[in-house]
Every structure is written in structure tokens, then in C-alpha cells.
Symmetry: C2
Subunit: 83 residues, 2 copies
């Protein structure tokens, strides 16, 4: 069965996020002062063939641990969507 996996990798809370700060400053300069606490990370999507939804989630977690996220500085969330 094929699943569409959406992974969101964000800087770990409490660590410096210079890209988020830059975007927050730019939004303020563009007259969007109501946006605060801005964080910027990576969005990764892929198709994955797996036996079922839980096998797909397990494989996606392994990919995050090995390649997609930095386990020291980043957190990730995985969404598994049947395709």
C-alpha cells in the first residue's frame, strides 16, 4: 500500500533559530506586527510503500533518525496519509 508521508522538521524549542528571527523581522518591516514566535524548518514529503499505516510511520521515523532530521538540534513530526 502506498502512503504519502509529510515530515515537519523544526529547530528544537529553546535553541537559536536565526532564520526564524530574520523572518519575524521581515514580517514586522512589511507591516505584519502580529506575527510572533516565528520558527522556520524543513518540510519533506514522499511516497512510501509499506504494509500498513503503522509500518509506514515506523519506516518514516527511521528515516528521520538517520537522515532527515538532526537528532541533536531538531524535532520532527510525521503525518502518514493513505494515498
Amino acid at each position: 500500500m502506498t502512503f504519502r508521508i509529510h515530515v515537519r522538521v523544526m529547530p528544537r524549542r529553546g535553541l537559536l533559530d536565526p532564520q526564524g528571527q530574520a523572518v519575524e523581522g521581515a514580517l514586522k518591516a512589511l507591516k505584519f506586527p502580529d506575527a510572533t514566535n516565528v520558527h522556520v524548518g524543513r518540510a519533506i514529503e514522499f511516497d512510501l510503500v509499506a504494509a500498513d499505516q503503522s509500518a509506514a510511520a515506523t519506516a518514516a521515523r527511521a528515516m528521520c533518525a538517520k537522515l532527515l532530521a538532526n537528532p541533536v538540534t531538531e524535532d520532527y513530526e510525521i503525518e502518514v496519509e493513505p494515498k
Copy 2:
């Protein structure tokens, strides 16, 4: 009212996505051959003060159009979550 906005900015379908291709190749090298059609984009999150959910979505769309996404090469999705 404060909302948490999640924006996912992805390369437009059909355009070259070299970062996605690189990740797909790396996943194959790491023995994850079942991941295909890999795309890499940006995930942006922020708090937004707005009157209601629809005002928050409208403001977030304006931010995407003006700063967060490149309207020529990227597509975006917005999720508005009450905080």
C-alpha cells in the same frame, strides 16, 4: 485571539527540485528504496493575533504572497490552529 499558524511551502509540482532528488538518492543509499517522489520545502510556524480563524488565514495568505513563498516557483498550504 491567538492562533498558531503552520505554513508549508513546497516547490511547485513539475519544477526541478534538486534538494528532493538529493534526499531521495541519500535514502536509497541508506537502504530505504521504498521512498519515492521526494520533495523538500520549508515549514514556517508562528503565533498570530487575529479576530477570528478566517481573519488569521487571510493575514497568513498575505504574508505568504509577500514574503514567505515565491509565487513563481512555490506553492503553499496554511493551517490555522487555535492556541
